[in-house]
Symmetry: C2
Subunit: 322 residues, 2 copies
Amino acid sequence: MANKDRLYLGIDLGGTNIQAGLLGADHKLLATDRLKTKAEGGEDTVIKRIGKVVDSVLEKADVKIADVDGLGIGAPGAVNHKKGIVINAVNLRWTDYPLAKELERTLGIPIVVDNDVNVGTWGEFIAGAGKDYDELLGIFVGTGIGGGLVLNGDLYHGHHLTAGEIGHTVIKADAGLGRRTLENLASRTNIVNQLRQLILANHPSIISELTEGDLGRVRSKILAEAFKKEDPLTLEVIGQAAHYIGTAIANTVTLLSLPCVVVGGGVTEALQADWIELIRDVFEEYVFPPELSKCKIVASELGDDAGIIGAALLAKQRLEKD
Amino acid sequence: MANKDRLYLGIDLGGTNIQAGLLGADHKLLATDRLKTKAEGGEDTVIKRIGKVVDSVLEKADVKIADVDGLGIGAPGAVNHKKGIVINAVNLRWTDYPLAKELERTLGIPIVVDNDVNVGTWGEFIAGAGKDYDELLGIFVGTGIGGGLVLNGDLYHGHHLTAGEIGHTVIKADAGLGRRTLENLASRTNIVNQLRQLILANHPSIISELTEGDLGRVRSKILAEAFKKEDPLTLEVIGQAAHYIGTAIANTVTLLSLPCVVVGGGVTEALQADWIELIRDVFEEYVFPPELSKCKIVASELGDDAGIIGAALLAKQRLEKD
Protein backbone atom coordinates (compact mmCIF):
# COMPACT_ATOMS: atom_id res chain seq x y z
CA MET A 1 0.00 0.00 0.00
CA ALA A 2 1.42 3.38 -0.94
CA ASN A 3 1.18 5.70 2.02
CA LYS A 4 3.09 8.88 2.78
CA ASP A 5 1.87 8.82 6.39
CA ARG A 6 3.99 6.91 8.82
CA LEU A 7 2.29 3.83 10.18
CA TYR A 8 2.55 2.48 13.71
CA LEU A 9 1.19 -0.64 15.34
CA GLY A 10 -0.15 -0.53 18.88
CA ILE A 11 -0.52 -3.51 21.19
CA ASP A 12 -2.36 -3.69 24.50
CA LEU A 13 -0.94 -6.77 26.18
CA GLY A 14 -3.18 -8.01 28.99
CA GLY A 15 -3.18 -11.13 31.14
CA THR A 16 -6.23 -12.44 29.23
CA ASN A 17 -6.23 -10.76 25.80
CA ILE A 18 -3.82 -9.26 23.31
CA GLN A 19 -5.42 -6.33 21.49
CA ALA A 20 -3.74 -4.89 18.41
CA GLY A 21 -4.36 -2.01 16.04
CA LEU A 22 -2.73 -0.22 13.11
CA LEU A 23 -2.82 3.55 13.42
CA GLY A 24 -2.97 5.76 10.39
CA ALA A 25 -3.21 9.50 9.90
CA ASP A 26 -5.40 11.63 12.23
CA HIS A 27 -5.04 9.01 14.96
CA LYS A 28 -7.55 6.72 13.23
CA LEU A 29 -7.32 2.96 13.58
CA LEU A 30 -7.07 1.34 10.11
CA ALA A 31 -7.65 -2.16 11.50
CA THR A 32 -7.82 -3.95 14.85
CA ASP A 33 -7.92 -7.50 16.15
CA ARG A 34 -7.60 -9.45 19.37
CA LEU A 35 -6.43 -12.85 20.51
CA LYS A 36 -6.24 -14.70 23.85
CA THR A 37 -2.86 -14.15 25.52
CA LYS A 38 -2.39 -17.72 26.78
CA ALA A 39 0.30 -16.54 29.19
CA GLU A 40 0.29 -20.00 30.75
CA GLY A 41 2.08 -21.23 27.61
CA GLY A 42 5.16 -19.19 28.52
CA GLU A 43 6.95 -16.24 26.99
CA ASP A 44 7.56 -17.77 23.55
CA THR A 45 3.88 -18.58 23.18
CA VAL A 46 2.92 -14.98 23.93
CA ILE A 47 5.51 -13.62 21.47
CA LYS A 48 4.14 -15.95 18.75
CA ARG A 49 0.57 -14.87 19.48
CA ILE A 50 1.54 -11.21 19.27
CA GLY A 51 3.07 -12.00 15.87
CA LYS A 52 -0.15 -13.73 14.85
CA VAL A 53 -2.47 -10.88 15.81
CA VAL A 54 -0.10 -8.38 14.13
CA ASP A 55 -0.25 -10.43 10.91
CA SER A 56 -4.03 -10.43 11.09
CA VAL A 57 -4.23 -6.65 11.58
CA LEU A 58 -1.82 -6.02 8.70
CA GLU A 59 -3.78 -8.33 6.44
CA LYS A 60 -7.06 -6.58 7.29
CA ALA A 61 -5.47 -3.21 6.52
CA ASP A 62 -3.67 -4.52 3.43
CA VAL A 63 -0.31 -3.27 4.72
CA LYS A 64 3.06 -5.02 4.70
CA ILE A 65 5.16 -5.09 7.89
CA ALA A 66 7.94 -3.40 5.90
CA ASP A 67 5.69 -0.34 5.56
CA VAL A 68 5.22 -0.06 9.32
CA ASP A 69 7.59 2.36 11.09
CA GLY A 70 7.37 0.84 14.55
CA LEU A 71 5.32 -0.90 17.17
CA GLY A 72 4.37 0.27 20.66
CA ILE A 73 3.24 -2.13 23.33
CA GLY A 74 1.74 -1.58 26.76
CA ALA A 75 2.49 -4.34 29.25
CA PRO A 76 0.84 -4.88 32.64
CA GLY A 77 3.09 -4.38 35.68
CA ALA A 78 6.50 -2.82 36.23
CA VAL A 79 8.32 -1.88 33.02
CA ASN A 80 11.72 -0.37 32.28
CA HIS A 81 10.68 1.65 29.24
CA LYS A 82 14.25 2.76 28.55
CA LYS A 83 15.51 -0.80 28.18
CA GLY A 84 12.24 -2.27 26.86
CA ILE A 85 12.15 -4.80 29.70
CA VAL A 86 9.11 -6.06 31.62
CA ILE A 87 10.54 -6.13 35.15
CA ASN A 88 7.62 -7.87 36.77
CA ALA A 89 4.17 -8.73 35.42
CA VAL A 90 2.19 -11.01 37.73
CA ASN A 91 -0.59 -11.60 35.16
CA LEU A 92 1.92 -12.80 32.59
CA ARG A 93 4.20 -14.56 35.11
CA TRP A 94 7.11 -12.59 33.63
CA THR A 95 10.21 -11.31 35.44
CA ASP A 96 12.92 -9.23 33.74
CA TYR A 97 11.73 -10.24 30.29
CA PRO A 98 13.37 -8.33 27.38
CA LEU A 99 10.11 -7.79 25.49
CA ALA A 100 11.41 -5.12 23.08
CA LYS A 101 14.40 -7.22 22.02
CA GLU A 102 12.34 -10.38 21.52
CA LEU A 103 9.64 -8.61 19.50
CA GLU A 104 12.21 -6.74 17.43
CA ARG A 105 13.84 -10.05 16.52
CA THR A 106 10.50 -11.59 15.54
CA LEU A 107 8.93 -8.65 13.69
CA GLY A 108 12.00 -6.82 12.38
CA ILE A 109 10.70 -3.32 13.23
CA PRO A 110 11.58 -0.92 16.10
CA ILE A 111 9.67 -1.67 19.33
CA VAL A 112 8.70 0.70 22.16
CA VAL A 113 7.53 -0.76 25.49
CA ASP A 114 5.83 0.95 28.41
CA ASN A 115 3.44 0.20 31.23
CA ASP A 116 -0.17 -0.35 30.04
CA VAL A 117 -1.59 2.48 32.16
CA ASN A 118 1.06 4.93 30.93
CA VAL A 119 0.24 3.93 27.37
CA GLY A 120 -3.50 4.53 27.92
CA THR A 121 -2.76 7.89 29.52
CA TRP A 122 -0.59 8.85 26.53
CA GLY A 123 -3.42 7.90 24.15
CA GLU A 124 -5.86 10.18 25.96
CA PHE A 125 -3.23 12.93 26.07
CA ILE A 126 -2.46 12.93 22.34
CA ALA A 127 -5.74 11.79 20.78
CA GLY A 128 -8.42 11.69 23.48
CA ALA A 129 -10.00 13.67 26.31
CA GLY A 130 -6.70 15.31 27.30
CA LYS A 131 -5.59 16.55 23.91
CA ASP A 132 -6.07 20.25 24.72
CA TYR A 133 -3.76 20.17 27.77
CA ASP A 134 -0.02 20.13 28.41
CA GLU A 135 -0.24 18.02 31.58
CA LEU A 136 -2.65 15.48 32.99
CA LEU A 137 -3.37 12.61 35.30
CA GLY A 138 -4.95 9.54 33.75
CA ILE A 139 -6.77 7.36 36.27
CA PHE A 140 -8.29 4.02 35.30
CA VAL A 141 -10.82 2.35 37.57
CA GLY A 142 -11.36 -1.35 36.98
CA THR A 143 -10.53 -4.47 38.99
CA GLY A 144 -7.65 -2.33 40.28
CA ILE A 145 -6.93 1.40 40.04
CA GLY A 146 -3.99 2.56 37.93
CA GLY A 147 -2.66 6.00 37.12
CA GLY A 148 -0.36 7.69 34.64
CA LEU A 149 1.08 11.19 34.57
CA VAL A 150 1.95 13.52 31.72
CA LEU A 151 4.04 16.44 33.00
CA ASN A 152 5.55 19.17 30.84
CA GLY A 153 4.20 17.47 27.72
CA ASP A 154 5.83 14.08 28.30
CA LEU A 155 5.05 10.86 30.18
CA TYR A 156 6.50 11.13 33.66
CA HIS A 157 8.12 7.91 34.92
CA GLY A 158 10.07 9.18 37.94
CA HIS A 159 13.55 8.29 39.11
CA HIS A 160 12.66 4.65 39.83
CA LEU A 161 10.36 4.43 36.74
CA THR A 162 7.24 3.45 38.75
CA ALA A 163 5.40 6.82 38.86
CA GLY A 164 1.62 7.11 38.72
CA GLU A 165 0.56 4.51 41.31
CA ILE A 166 -2.37 6.59 42.61
CA GLY A 167 -4.27 3.38 43.48
CA HIS A 168 -1.71 2.70 46.20
CA THR A 169 -1.88 6.10 47.88
CA VAL A 170 -3.31 6.04 51.41
CA ILE A 171 -6.43 8.13 51.93
CA LYS A 172 -7.67 6.61 55.19
CA ALA A 173 -4.52 6.80 57.27
CA ASP A 174 -5.97 5.23 60.41
CA ALA A 175 -7.88 2.39 58.77
CA GLY A 176 -6.76 -1.23 59.04
CA LEU A 177 -4.59 -3.08 56.56
CA GLY A 178 -6.45 -3.61 53.28
CA ARG A 179 -8.76 -0.63 53.94
CA ARG A 180 -6.34 2.29 53.57
CA THR A 181 -5.51 2.81 49.94
CA LEU A 182 -7.60 4.14 47.08
CA GLU A 183 -7.55 0.75 45.36
CA ASN A 184 -8.66 -0.96 48.61
CA LEU A 185 -11.57 1.45 48.85
CA ALA A 186 -12.77 2.20 45.33
CA SER A 187 -11.81 -0.46 42.78
CA ARG A 188 -14.58 -2.48 41.14
CA THR A 189 -13.36 -5.43 43.19
CA ASN A 190 -14.19 -3.53 46.36
CA ILE A 191 -17.45 -2.05 45.03
CA VAL A 192 -18.68 -5.54 44.13
CA ASN A 193 -17.48 -7.11 47.41
CA GLN A 194 -19.25 -4.45 49.42
CA LEU A 195 -22.49 -4.85 47.49
CA ARG A 196 -22.34 -8.62 47.91
CA GLN A 197 -21.77 -8.36 51.65
CA LEU A 198 -24.59 -5.86 52.11
CA ILE A 199 -27.00 -7.94 50.03
CA LEU A 200 -26.06 -11.11 51.92
CA ALA A 201 -26.77 -9.12 55.12
CA ASN A 202 -30.31 -8.65 53.75
CA HIS A 203 -30.06 -5.09 52.47
CA PRO A 204 -32.58 -4.91 49.63
CA SER A 205 -31.15 -4.22 46.17
CA ILE A 206 -32.26 -4.60 42.57
CA ILE A 207 -28.97 -6.44 42.05
CA SER A 208 -30.44 -9.61 43.60
CA GLU A 209 -33.01 -9.58 40.80
CA LEU A 210 -30.58 -8.62 38.01
CA THR A 211 -28.23 -11.48 38.92
CA GLU A 212 -31.10 -13.89 39.55
CA GLY A 213 -29.67 -14.41 43.02
CA ASP A 214 -26.20 -15.41 41.78
CA LEU A 215 -24.12 -12.57 43.22
CA GLY A 216 -20.98 -14.01 41.61
CA ARG A 217 -22.34 -12.56 38.36
CA VAL A 218 -21.98 -8.89 39.36
CA ARG A 219 -19.88 -7.19 36.66
CA SER A 220 -19.66 -3.60 35.40
CA LYS A 221 -22.74 -4.14 33.20
CA ILE A 222 -24.97 -5.12 36.11
CA LEU A 223 -23.51 -2.33 38.25
CA ALA A 224 -24.37 0.09 35.46
CA GLU A 225 -27.94 -1.15 35.21
CA ALA A 226 -28.54 -0.91 38.98
CA PHE A 227 -26.88 2.54 39.01
CA LYS A 228 -29.03 3.76 36.12
CA LYS A 229 -32.19 2.47 37.82
CA GLU A 230 -31.11 4.39 40.96
CA ASP A 231 -31.04 1.35 43.20
CA PRO A 232 -30.40 2.98 46.62
CA LEU A 233 -27.83 0.42 47.81
CA THR A 234 -25.88 0.65 44.55
CA LEU A 235 -26.01 4.47 44.63
CA GLU A 236 -24.64 4.41 48.18
CA VAL A 237 -21.73 2.05 47.49
CA ILE A 238 -20.80 3.67 44.18
CA GLY A 239 -21.16 7.14 45.72
CA GLN A 240 -18.68 6.14 48.42
CA ALA A 241 -16.19 4.87 45.82
CA ALA A 242 -16.56 8.10 43.84
CA HIS A 243 -15.92 10.01 47.06
CA TYR A 244 -12.57 8.27 47.55
CA ILE A 245 -11.61 8.67 43.90
CA GLY A 246 -12.49 12.38 43.99
CA THR A 247 -10.35 12.72 47.12
CA ALA A 248 -7.31 11.02 45.58
CA ILE A 249 -7.68 13.12 42.42
CA ALA A 250 -7.89 16.28 44.55
CA ASN A 251 -4.69 15.22 46.34
CA THR A 252 -2.88 14.73 43.05
CA VAL A 253 -4.06 18.04 41.56
CA THR A 254 -3.21 19.83 44.85
CA LEU A 255 0.29 18.38 44.67
CA LEU A 256 0.91 18.86 40.94
CA SER A 257 -1.34 21.81 40.01
CA LEU A 258 -2.71 20.01 36.96
CA PRO A 259 -5.10 21.42 34.33
CA CYS A 260 -6.82 18.12 33.50
CA VAL A 261 -7.65 14.65 34.82
CA VAL A 262 -8.94 11.91 32.50
CA VAL A 263 -10.96 9.19 34.23
CA GLY A 264 -11.22 5.86 32.41
CA GLY A 265 -11.38 2.12 32.99
CA GLY A 266 -14.20 -0.44 33.02
CA VAL A 267 -16.19 1.18 35.83
CA THR A 268 -16.09 4.56 34.07
CA GLU A 269 -17.11 3.02 30.73
CA ALA A 270 -20.10 1.44 32.44
CA LEU A 271 -21.29 4.32 34.62
CA GLN A 272 -20.37 7.27 32.37
CA ALA A 273 -21.30 10.92 33.00
CA ASP A 274 -23.12 10.57 36.35
CA TRP A 275 -20.08 8.81 37.80
CA ILE A 276 -17.76 11.61 36.62
CA GLU A 277 -20.16 14.12 38.17
CA LEU A 278 -19.96 12.40 41.57
CA ILE A 279 -16.16 12.37 41.40
CA ARG A 280 -15.98 16.01 40.30
CA ASP A 281 -18.16 17.20 43.20
CA VAL A 282 -15.78 15.73 45.78
CA PHE A 283 -12.73 16.92 43.85
CA GLU A 284 -14.01 20.50 43.88
CA GLU A 285 -14.64 20.35 47.62
CA TYR A 286 -11.16 19.04 48.51
CA VAL A 287 -8.71 20.55 46.02
CA PHE A 288 -6.37 23.31 47.21
CA PRO A 289 -6.09 26.17 46.51
CA PRO A 290 -9.81 26.43 45.63
CA GLU A 291 -8.93 28.08 42.29
CA LEU A 292 -7.71 24.64 41.16
CA SER A 293 -11.33 23.52 40.91
CA LYS A 294 -11.02 24.88 37.36
CA CYS A 295 -8.97 21.74 36.57
CA LYS A 296 -11.07 19.66 34.14
CA ILE A 297 -12.23 16.22 35.30
CA VAL A 298 -13.30 14.39 32.16
CA ALA A 299 -14.18 10.87 31.03
CA SER A 300 -11.86 8.91 28.75
CA GLU A 301 -12.73 9.41 25.07
CA LEU A 302 -10.87 6.44 23.63
CA GLY A 303 -12.35 3.87 26.01
CA ASP A 304 -11.13 0.38 25.36
CA ASP A 305 -8.98 1.58 22.42
CA ALA A 306 -6.86 3.91 24.63
CA GLY A 307 -4.25 1.16 25.03
CA ILE A 308 -3.68 0.33 21.36
CA ILE A 309 -3.94 3.96 20.17
CA GLY A 310 -1.67 5.14 23.00
CA ALA A 311 0.89 2.41 22.32
CA ALA A 312 1.06 3.28 18.62
CA LEU A 313 1.31 7.01 19.42
CA LEU A 314 4.03 6.39 22.00
CA ALA A 315 6.05 4.44 19.43
CA LYS A 316 5.60 7.35 17.03
CA GLN A 317 6.76 9.89 19.64
CA ARG A 318 9.79 7.95 20.80
CA LEU A 319 10.96 6.81 17.39
CA GLU A 320 10.46 10.13 15.62
CA LYS A 321 12.26 11.91 18.48
CA ASP A 322 15.37 9.73 18.11
CA MET B 1 35.90 44.01 46.00
CA ALA B 2 37.50 42.21 43.11
CA ASN B 3 35.77 38.89 42.61
CA LYS B 4 35.62 36.63 39.61
CA ASP B 5 32.82 34.59 41.17
CA ARG B 6 29.36 35.80 40.46
CA LEU B 7 27.56 37.10 43.52
CA TYR B 8 23.88 36.67 44.32
CA LEU B 9 21.74 38.01 47.14
CA GLY B 10 19.06 35.82 48.71
CA ILE B 11 16.06 37.10 50.65
CA ASP B 12 13.63 35.09 52.75
CA LEU B 13 10.61 37.37 53.10
CA GLY B 14 8.38 36.31 55.96
CA GLY B 15 5.37 37.89 57.62
CA THR B 16 7.51 38.74 60.68
CA ASN B 17 11.15 38.91 59.52
CA ILE B 18 13.14 39.65 56.41
CA GLN B 19 16.28 37.52 56.28
CA ALA B 20 19.01 38.33 53.78
CA GLY B 21 22.34 36.84 52.75
CA LEU B 22 25.05 37.27 50.14
CA LEU B 23 26.13 34.02 48.56
CA GLY B 24 29.67 33.54 47.32
CA ALA B 25 31.50 30.61 45.79
CA ASP B 26 30.87 27.04 47.05
CA HIS B 27 27.40 28.08 48.23
CA LYS B 28 28.88 29.83 51.28
CA LEU B 29 27.17 32.83 52.82
CA LEU B 30 29.58 35.81 52.92
CA ALA B 31 27.29 37.83 55.19
CA THR B 32 23.74 37.71 56.54
CA ASP B 33 21.35 39.99 58.39
CA ARG B 34 17.70 40.24 59.36
CA LEU B 35 15.11 42.93 60.01
CA LYS B 36 11.46 43.01 61.09
CA THR B 37 9.16 43.00 58.05
CA LYS B 38 6.63 45.51 59.40
CA ALA B 39 4.11 44.44 56.77
CA GLU B 40 1.48 46.56 58.54
CA GLY B 41 3.31 49.61 57.14
CA GLY B 42 2.28 48.63 53.62
CA GLU B 43 4.14 47.55 50.50
CA ASP B 44 6.45 50.57 50.24
CA THR B 45 7.62 50.09 53.82
CA VAL B 46 8.51 46.47 53.12
CA ILE B 47 10.39 47.40 49.94
CA LYS B 48 12.38 50.03 51.85
CA ARG B 49 13.19 47.55 54.61
CA ILE B 50 14.37 44.99 52.06
CA GLY B 51 16.64 47.73 50.68
CA LYS B 52 17.90 48.46 54.18
CA VAL B 53 18.77 44.85 55.05
CA VAL B 54 20.43 44.43 51.63
CA ASP B 55 22.59 47.49 52.32
CA SER B 56 23.58 46.08 55.67
CA VAL B 57 24.54 42.69 54.20
CA LEU B 58 26.58 44.33 51.43
CA GLU B 59 28.36 46.55 53.94
CA LYS B 60 29.21 43.56 56.15
CA ALA B 61 30.61 41.73 53.13
CA ASP B 62 32.35 44.85 51.75
CA VAL B 63 30.64 44.43 48.39
CA LYS B 64 28.99 47.07 46.18
CA ILE B 65 25.52 46.43 44.75
CA ALA B 66 27.04 46.95 41.29
CA ASP B 67 29.12 43.80 41.84
CA VAL B 68 26.03 41.69 42.60
CA ASP B 69 24.62 39.78 39.62
CA GLY B 70 21.11 39.36 40.91
CA LEU B 71 18.77 38.87 43.84
CA GLY B 72 16.41 35.99 44.55
CA ILE B 73 13.53 36.35 46.96
CA GLY B 74 11.16 33.80 48.47
CA ALA B 75 7.74 35.21 49.34
CA PRO B 76 5.05 33.54 51.43
CA GLY B 77 1.86 32.56 49.59
CA ALA B 78 0.90 32.26 45.95
CA VAL B 79 3.51 33.58 43.52
CA ASN B 80 3.67 33.89 39.75
CA HIS B 81 7.40 33.23 39.38
CA LYS B 82 7.34 33.89 35.65
CA LYS B 83 6.01 37.43 36.10
CA GLY B 84 7.63 38.07 39.50
CA ILE B 85 4.25 38.82 41.06
CA VAL B 86 3.03 37.92 44.54
CA ILE B 87 -0.53 36.88 43.73
CA ASN B 88 -1.71 36.55 47.31
CA ALA B 89 0.22 36.62 50.59
CA VAL B 90 -2.05 36.73 53.63
CA ASN B 91 0.85 37.37 56.05
CA LEU B 92 1.94 40.42 54.06
CA ARG B 93 -1.59 41.53 53.14
CA TRP B 94 -0.47 41.62 49.50
CA THR B 95 -2.56 40.88 46.42
CA ASP B 96 -1.13 40.90 42.86
CA TYR B 97 1.92 42.85 43.95
CA PRO B 98 4.68 43.21 41.29
CA LEU B 99 7.52 42.45 43.70
CA ALA B 100 10.22 41.82 41.07
CA LYS B 101 9.49 45.08 39.25
CA GLU B 102 9.44 47.17 42.45
CA LEU B 103 12.67 45.67 43.77
CA GLU B 104 14.38 45.96 40.42
CA ARG B 105 13.52 49.68 40.35
CA THR B 106 14.85 50.19 43.90
CA LEU B 107 18.00 48.06 43.71
CA GLY B 108 18.87 48.24 40.03
CA ILE B 109 19.76 44.55 39.70
CA PRO B 110 17.83 41.60 38.18
CA ILE B 111 15.28 40.08 40.58
CA VAL B 112 13.92 36.52 40.70
CA VAL B 113 10.81 35.79 42.80
CA ASP B 114 9.37 32.45 43.88
CA ASN B 115 7.32 30.96 46.68
CA ASP B 116 9.28 30.65 49.97
CA VAL B 117 8.84 26.87 50.20
CA ASN B 118 9.98 26.37 46.60
CA VAL B 119 13.02 28.49 47.35
CA GLY B 120 13.88 26.44 50.45
CA THR B 121 13.44 23.23 48.46
CA TRP B 122 15.77 24.56 45.76
CA GLY B 123 18.39 25.41 48.40
CA GLU B 124 18.34 21.85 49.75
CA PHE B 125 18.43 20.49 46.19
CA ILE B 126 21.50 22.44 45.07
CA ALA B 127 23.46 22.91 48.29
CA GLY B 128 21.85 20.83 51.05
CA ALA B 129 20.52 17.38 51.88
CA GLY B 130 19.25 16.76 48.34
CA LYS B 131 22.36 17.66 46.39
CA ASP B 132 23.10 14.10 45.25
CA TYR B 133 19.67 13.61 43.62
CA ASP B 134 17.97 14.67 40.40
CA GLU B 135 14.48 14.90 41.92
CA LEU B 136 13.06 15.48 45.37
CA LEU B 137 10.20 16.52 47.58
CA GLY B 138 10.97 19.18 50.19
CA ILE B 139 8.49 19.18 53.09
CA PHE B 140 8.64 21.81 55.81
CA VAL B 141 6.79 21.25 59.07
CA GLY B 142 6.15 24.35 61.16
CA THR B 143 3.00 26.28 62.06
CA GLY B 144 1.77 24.97 58.70
CA ILE B 145 3.09 22.29 56.35
CA GLY B 146 4.49 23.34 52.99
CA GLY B 147 6.04 21.37 50.16
CA GLY B 148 8.13 21.94 47.06
CA LEU B 149 8.99 19.61 44.18
CA VAL B 150 12.07 19.30 42.03
CA LEU B 151 11.36 17.07 39.02
CA ASN B 152 13.81 16.34 36.19
CA GLY B 153 16.35 18.68 37.79
CA ASP B 154 14.14 21.78 37.94
CA LEU B 155 11.56 23.27 40.31
CA TYR B 156 8.14 22.01 39.33
CA HIS B 157 5.38 24.64 39.49
CA GLY B 158 2.59 22.93 37.57
CA HIS B 159 0.17 24.37 35.04
CA HIS B 160 -1.49 26.71 37.56
CA LEU B 161 1.86 27.47 39.32
CA THR B 162 0.68 26.24 42.75
CA ALA B 163 2.34 22.80 42.89
CA GLY B 164 3.71 21.26 46.09
CA GLU B 165 0.82 21.84 48.50
CA ILE B 166 1.29 18.52 50.30
CA GLY B 167 -0.05 20.07 53.53
CA HIS B 168 -3.46 20.31 51.89
CA THR B 169 -3.70 16.71 50.73
CA VAL B 170 -6.40 14.65 52.44
CA ILE B 171 -5.16 11.61 54.33
CA LYS B 172 -8.21 10.92 56.50
CA ALA B 173 -10.95 10.95 53.88
CA ASP B 174 -13.83 10.30 56.26
CA ALA B 175 -12.80 12.70 59.04
CA GLY B 176 -14.67 15.93 59.70
CA LEU B 177 -13.80 19.35 58.32
CA GLY B 178 -10.52 20.58 59.80
CA ARG B 179 -9.36 17.02 60.59
CA ARG B 180 -8.73 15.67 57.09
CA THR B 181 -5.59 17.19 55.66
CA LEU B 182 -1.96 16.62 56.55
CA GLU B 183 -1.65 20.20 57.84
CA ASN B 184 -4.79 19.74 59.98
CA LEU B 185 -3.28 16.63 61.50
CA ALA B 186 0.47 17.17 61.80
CA SER B 187 1.47 20.85 61.85
CA ARG B 188 3.05 22.27 65.00
CA THR B 189 -0.19 24.19 65.49
CA ASN B 190 -2.07 20.90 65.75
CA ILE B 191 0.61 19.13 67.82
CA VAL B 192 0.53 21.97 70.36
CA ASN B 193 -3.29 22.18 70.39
CA GLN B 194 -3.59 18.48 70.99
CA LEU B 195 -1.06 18.52 73.83
CA ARG B 196 -2.84 21.48 75.44
CA GLN B 197 -6.21 19.78 75.24
CA LEU B 198 -4.87 16.52 76.67
CA ILE B 199 -3.06 18.30 79.50
CA LEU B 200 -6.15 20.38 80.29
CA ALA B 201 -8.05 17.07 80.42
CA ASN B 202 -5.61 16.06 83.18
CA HIS B 203 -3.28 13.81 81.21
CA PRO B 204 0.06 14.04 83.01
CA SER B 205 2.95 15.54 81.03
CA ILE B 206 6.33 17.08 81.75
CA ILE B 207 5.13 20.00 79.60
CA SER B 208 3.05 21.35 82.51
CA GLU B 209 6.32 21.68 84.42
CA LEU B 210 8.40 23.04 81.51
CA THR B 211 5.86 25.79 80.82
CA GLU B 212 5.30 26.45 84.52
CA GLY B 213 1.62 25.82 83.90
CA ASP B 214 1.34 28.43 81.13
CA LEU B 215 0.42 26.19 78.18
CA GLY B 216 0.39 29.22 75.87
CA ARG B 217 4.20 29.01 76.04
CA VAL B 218 4.53 25.69 74.19
CA ARG B 219 6.90 26.26 71.25
CA SER B 220 9.24 23.97 69.28
CA LYS B 221 11.91 24.31 71.98
CA ILE B 222 9.66 23.01 74.75
CA LEU B 223 8.32 20.29 72.46
CA ALA B 224 11.92 19.26 71.80
CA GLU B 225 12.77 19.11 75.50
CA ALA B 226 9.71 17.01 76.36
CA PHE B 227 10.42 14.75 73.35
CA LYS B 228 14.07 14.29 74.37
CA LYS B 229 13.05 13.46 77.93
CA GLU B 230 10.63 10.87 76.51
CA ASP B 231 7.53 12.37 78.08
CA PRO B 232 4.91 9.71 77.19
CA LEU B 233 2.17 12.18 76.22
CA THR B 234 4.56 14.15 73.98
CA LEU B 235 5.88 10.95 72.40
CA GLU B 236 2.31 9.87 71.65
CA VAL B 237 1.20 13.14 70.05
CA ILE B 238 4.42 13.65 68.09
CA GLY B 239 4.42 9.99 67.06
CA GLN B 240 0.94 10.45 65.62
CA ALA B 241 2.02 13.55 63.68
CA ALA B 242 5.05 11.68 62.32
CA HIS B 243 2.68 8.88 61.29
CA TYR B 244 0.61 11.28 59.15
CA ILE B 245 3.69 12.94 57.68
CA GLY B 246 5.20 9.55 56.81
CA THR B 247 1.91 8.62 55.14
CA ALA B 248 1.75 11.79 53.03
CA ILE B 249 5.40 11.38 52.02
CA ALA B 250 4.70 7.74 51.04
CA ASN B 251 1.77 8.94 48.91
CA THR B 252 3.97 11.48 47.12
CA VAL B 253 6.80 9.02 46.49
CA THR B 254 4.28 6.38 45.34
CA LEU B 255 2.85 8.88 42.87
CA LEU B 256 6.14 10.39 41.65
CA SER B 257 8.70 7.59 42.20
CA LEU B 258 11.18 9.97 43.86
CA PRO B 259 14.73 9.14 45.01
CA CYS B 260 14.81 11.61 47.93
CA VAL B 261 12.65 13.55 50.39
CA VAL B 262 14.12 16.38 52.47
CA VAL B 263 12.23 17.12 55.70
CA GLY B 264 12.73 20.56 57.22
CA GLY B 265 10.94 23.32 59.11
CA GLY B 266 10.86 24.38 62.77
CA VAL B 267 9.53 21.09 64.13
CA THR B 268 12.26 19.15 62.32
CA GLU B 269 14.98 21.55 63.49
CA ALA B 270 13.79 21.02 67.06
CA LEU B 271 13.25 17.26 67.08
CA GLN B 272 16.01 16.18 64.67
CA ALA B 273 17.06 12.59 63.94
CA ASP B 274 14.52 10.70 66.10
CA TRP B 275 11.68 12.57 64.37
CA ILE B 276 13.03 11.64 60.92
CA GLU B 277 13.30 8.04 62.09
CA LEU B 278 9.60 7.98 63.11
CA ILE B 279 8.60 9.42 59.72
CA ARG B 280 10.82 7.00 57.82
CA ASP B 281 9.34 3.95 59.54
CA VAL B 282 5.80 4.83 58.42
CA PHE B 283 7.01 5.82 54.95
CA GLU B 284 8.66 2.43 54.47
CA GLU B 285 5.49 0.63 55.54
CA TYR B 286 3.19 2.53 53.17
CA VAL B 287 5.16 3.31 50.02
CA PHE B 288 4.40 1.33 46.85
CA PRO B 289 5.95 -0.59 45.23
CA PRO B 290 7.95 -1.73 48.29
CA GLU B 291 11.22 -1.27 46.36
CA LEU B 292 10.63 2.50 46.71
CA SER B 293 11.55 2.24 50.38
CA LYS B 294 15.08 2.85 49.05
CA CYS B 295 14.03 6.50 48.57
CA LYS B 296 16.09 8.56 51.07
CA ILE B 297 14.16 10.42 53.78
CA VAL B 298 16.63 12.96 55.19
CA ALA B 299 16.63 16.04 57.42
CA SER B 300 17.24 19.50 55.97
CA GLU B 301 20.93 20.44 56.07
CA LEU B 302 20.58 24.18 55.58
CA GLY B 303 18.02 24.67 58.36
CA ASP B 304 16.97 28.27 58.76
CA ASP B 305 19.36 29.37 55.97
CA ALA B 306 17.60 27.23 53.32
CA GLY B 307 15.48 30.23 52.30
CA ILE B 308 18.26 32.75 51.71
CA ILE B 309 20.67 30.24 50.17
CA GLY B 310 17.90 28.79 47.98
CA ALA B 311 16.76 32.26 46.87
CA ALA B 312 20.29 33.27 45.86
CA LEU B 313 20.83 29.95 44.05
CA LEU B 314 17.51 30.27 42.25
CA ALA B 315 18.49 33.75 41.04
CA LYS B 316 21.78 32.28 39.82
CA GLN B 317 20.03 29.43 37.98
CA ARG B 318 17.38 31.58 36.31
CA LEU B 319 19.64 34.48 35.39
CA GLU B 320 22.55 32.39 34.11
CA LYS B 321 20.13 30.27 32.07
CA ASP B 322 18.75 33.31 30.30
